[in-house]
Symmetry: D2
Subunit: 285 residues, 4 copies
C-alpha cells in the first residue's frame, strides 16, 4: 500500500463542497483512492472523508494543511483534520481483570493487522501483567481505591504523556474515569460497554439483561464522554440468548461480541474513519 493522505472535514452544508475539495486534490495531481461524504439534512451539516495518494502530489506533506486551510477551509468555515496513513497512532490499553478484549487486541497487533504502536498497558489489578508479559509490552499496575483515585489518575495521565499516547482503549476497565481525565482525551478514549446501549447502562448489564428476560444481548464500542455510558457510539452488535441462559452464560457469550465490537471500533478510529459530531459518530465506509 502506498502512503495516503486522509482528510476529514465537517462544516455547514453549502453547494459545491465536494467539487471544491476534489478539485483541490485533482489540481494538485492527487489520485483519490477513497471518498465518502454525508450530509445531515436535519442539521444541514456536511461531513466528508477523502483519501489520496501522497506520491506525486504537488504539495509537500507539511504544506498540505496550510494550503487547504487557505484555499478551501477558511472560505467554507470547515473544521478538518489531516492525517497520513504512515503515522501510527500510539494506543494505551487499560484493563482490570478480564483478558478477552486484551488478548484480542494484542493478537491483532501481533499479527500486524492493527496499525498502531502499543507503548504500554495500564491495569488496576495485577492479573493482566502476565498477558502483557507474553507480548513484551510494559505493564503498569496502578491500583485504584476511593481514597487514592485522584492521585492515581495523575500517575496514569503522566504515563500517557510520557509515552506520547494518542488514544486510550478501555478493554473492560472497570473504573469510571474522572472528568479531568476524560477532558484531556476528547473523542480519544474508546470504551466497550457490555450491552447495546442505551439499554442497561451502568453496572452488571448481563444481570440486568437476565432479570429483564431479553432475547438478545450485545456490546457497544463508544467514545467516553462526561456522561456515563452516554458517549458517541462507534459500533454495536448482538448475540441471541434464550431463557436457558443465566447471567454466567450471558457473560461468556457476551465476551465474544465485546471483543469483536471493541476491535471494530478501534479499527475505525485507527483508520481515521470517524468524526464525532452532536454526540454521534459518523463512521465512514
Amino acid at each position: 500500500m502506498s502512503v495516503t493522505a486522509i482528510l476529514r472535514i465537517e462544516c455547514p452544508d453549502q453547494k459545491g463542497l465536494i467539487s471544491r475539495v476534489t478539485d483541490f486534490i485533482q489540481r494538485n495531481n492527487g489520485n483519490i483512492v477513497a471518498l465518502d461524504q454525508y450530509t445531515d439534512t436535519y442539521e444541514k451539516h456536511f461531513f466528508m472523508r477523502v483519501e489520496w495518494e501522497v506520491e506525486g502530489f504537488a504539495i509537500e506533506r507539511d504544506q498540505i494543511g496550510p494550503a487547504f486551510q487557505y484555499a478551501i477551509a477558511t472560505p467554507c468555515q470547515m473544521n478538518w483534520q489531516l492525517d497520513f496513513s504512515d503515522q501510527k497512532l500510539r494506543m494505551c490499553i487499560m484493563v482490570s481483570k478480564m483478558s478477552h478484549c486484551l488478548y484480542d487486541l494484542l493478537a491483532r497487533y501481533h499479527a500486524g493487522e492493527l496499525n498502531v504502536e502499543i507503548p504500554l498497558i495500564i491495569g488496576n489489578h495485577d492479573c493482566m501483567q502476565i498477558v502483557a508479559d507474553q507480548f513484551g509490552i510494559p505493564f503498569h499496575l496502578i491500583k485504584i481505591t476511593k481514597e487514592n483515585k485522584a492521585e492515581q489518575e495523575q500517575l496514569q495521565m503522566q504515563l500517557l504523556k510520557d509515552n506520547n499516547v494518542d488514544f486510550v482503549v478501555l478493554a473492560r476497565y472497570m473504573q469510571i474515569l474522572s472528568l479531568d481525565f476524560i477532558r484531556s482525551y476528547p473523542n480519544r478514549i474508546i470504551n466497550i460497554h457490555h450491552s447495546t446501549l442505551p439499554a442497561f447502562v451502568g453496572a452488571k448489564p448481563y444481570h440486568q439483561a437476565y432479570t429483564r428476560g431479553v432475547k438478545l444481548i450485545g456490546a457497544t464500542g463508544h467514545y467516553v464522554t462526561e456522561d456515563l455510558d452516554a458517549g458517541p457510539i462507534i459500533e454495536q452488535d448482538i448475540i441471541r440468548v434464550t431463557h436457558k441462559d443465566t447471567p454466567e452464560t450471558m457473560v461468556l457469550k457476551g465476551m465474544d461480541v465485546e471483543k469483536i465490537v471493541l476491535a471494530r471500533a478501534v479499527e475505525a478510529h485507527v483508520n481515521r474513519k470517524t468524526i464525532v459530531w452532536n454526540n454521534k459518530t459518523i463512521v465512514f465506509s
Copy 2:
C-alpha cells in the same frame, strides 16, 4: 400431521419430574413427538413442554387432564395447561394506521401458515378497513379519544367476548390499553414494540434511536402487562443502521424487523410454545 396433545407444566424443581411425566404418557401408549424442558437453577423451578400423538392414546381427550391432575400434577404441585393441536385459537388483531404488520399476519393466515381463526380486526382509525376488506375479515372501527376511552374499551371487550377471542395481537396499535383490559387477557395480549426493549421505552423509539446515534435498531414482541413496554419478552431482532439513517429511514427499515418479530412471537404463542413466569417468557424449541 396427526393431532397432538400439548402439555405445558411448571412447578418447583424436584427429582424425577421428567421421568414421571414421560412415564405417564408411555404407560398410556402415547408416542412423544417433542419434548423440551428447562430448569431455572436460580429459582429452582421446573418447566416442561411435551407433545404426543392423540391417536392410540389410552385415555380419552377430555379425561387426560383429570387423569394427569390426579396422578402427577397434584402430588408434584404442578401448574399445567393441556391443549390439542386441532384446537385453533381465535385471534383478534388491533391496528391503527400502519399496514405492514397487519398485511404480514393476514398473508400468513391466508397461506394457511398461521394456525388460527381471525374473526375480527379492530381499528381506532378507518385506514385499515380496506386491508380487512381485501381479506374478507370483519373490521370494527372504534375511535378512541381521551374522553371516550373507557366506554370504547368496553365496546372492544364486548366484541372480543362476542367473538370468543382467545388472544389479542396489537399490530402497531398506538393506544395504551387500560388495566381493566389488560387484566382480562393475562399473557394473552401480544404487542410489537419498535425497539429492542428495554431501550427506548414509550413513544417514538426510532426518533430516540436517531438522537442517541445507535448503530442497531430493532423490535420486541412481548406480552402486555400493567407496566408499559415492560412485559415478558417473547422475541427480539435487530437490523443495522448507520449515521446516514434518519428517523424516516429507520421507520422504513424497522418495519421489516417489526413484522417478522411479531409473526414469530404470534407463532410461538399459537403453537403453545410459551410459558410466562416471573415476567419472563420461556419459549420452547
Copy 3:
C-alpha cells in the same frame, strides 16, 4: 421530497473523475443530496452514483443528458444512465403457487413504500389470481408446459411490451426463462433464489440444505442471466437452523428471508442504486 436527478456512471479509472462530475453539477447550480463512488482497484474501473435536486438546476431535464455526454462522458469514455426520481418504473411480477413474496411486494406497494407502478401480474398457475384480485391488479394466467413454452413466452413478452414494463420480478416463479426472454431484459429481471448462492443451485435448495446438514439457510436476490442461478447478486441474507429443522420447517423459515431479501433487491433497483459490471452488482448506499 423534491425531485432529484440520479446519474450512474462507470468508466476506466482516471484522475479527476469525481471532481469533473461534481464540478459539472455545481457549475450548473445543482445541489447534491447524495454521492457514492467506488473504484475497483483490481480492474482499475470507476463507478459513481450522484443525486441532485432538479429544482433550480441550470439545465433543462431533457438537456442534462446531452450536456453531460458532451462535456464529461465522451472525453472520459463513460457509460452512464440518467434517471429522475419522479419517473416510476413499471414492474411486472411473475409468480407460480407461493404467495409470500407476492404479498410482501404488494403490501409495500399498497402502503406507498415502493416507488413503482404494477400494471400486471403473470402466473403460470391460477392460485395467485385471488391475491392479484385483492389488490385490483390485472392477473394473466399463462400456463407453461414443455410443449408450449416457446409460444407462451411470446405471449408473456407481448404482455410486457403492451404494458410498457421496465423490469420483471420473479417472485418465486418456478420456471426457467428462455435465453430470448432473458436477453430482452438485460439486468432488468430480478429473481429470488432460496439459498445463499452459490450454495444449492437449482431445484429444491432447502432439501439440499437439509441433506447437507447446514446450520444456516438463506436467500439471494439477483439479476437473471443466461447461466442458471449465476447472475449478479444484489442482496443476500440468512437465518439460523438446527438439526431439528426438516425440509418443511426450512421452507417455512426461509420464506421470511426470501421476501425480505427480494424486497431489498427490488428497492435497490427501483431507487437506481445498482450498477452491474463483470457479473457483479455494485449497490450504492
Copy 4:
C-alpha cells in the same frame, strides 16, 4: 459446579425411550440438570443427551456404563457414550501460518473458559512457534512436502499417541490430511473452513467469493471426513460484505468469523454436546 455424568444416546425410534432413560436415572437417585432429545422423523431415529449430578447417584462411576448397557441399551439397541464433566479432553491444535484462530483458542484456554488440556501444538511452518512459546505450550514443527507427507504424518500421529490426544483442531491448518490420519480420529478432528459450506469448497474461498460477487462471507466448523470439506457441520456464521470488499479485506473480515465459529464448534465438542449421524451433527442445546 458439581461433577456431572453426560450420556449421549442414539437408536431407532420407539415408544418410551425418554421414560426408560429418565426412569433409570431417577430410580438410582440421580438429579437431572439438563436433558435434550431429538427424533429424526424421516429416518425414525432417536437422539438424546442427558446430564445428571454424580454426587449421590446410587451407582459407582465405573459401573454406570455396564448397568445402563444391561438395563436399557441392549434391549433398545442403543449406541451410547458416557462421559464425566471432570474428564478434561486432551486437544492438539494444528496450524500453518495464520495466528487468529490459534490466539483465540489459547486466550480462552488461558482464561479457563475452555475445559481442555493442550499438551502440544503442531505446525507445518515455524511462524506459530512464537505464539506457542508465549503460552508455554510445546510446539512441534513438522514440515510437509509432497515427497515426505506420508512419513511426516506418521510423526504427527505418533505425537498424538504419545500425548494421549483425544481430538485434533485444525486452526487454519492448510494441509489435507491423509485418509489414514482421518480414519484414526473419526469425528474427532475439527476443521474451520473459511466459507459457509457447501459454497466455495477447496482453496481460496474468499477469492472465489470475491469473483462470484457475494454479499455475505462466512465460516464453517465441521468434523473432518474422507471427503474434502464435506464432513458433518457443527457451526456456521456469516458477516456482511459489499462490492467495496476485495479478497484482502474479505480475508481480514472473515478472520473474526472463523475464530468465533471454530471456538463454538470446539466448545460444543468439548462439552459433549454433539452426536454425528448420517454425516450431520446434532448439536444439543
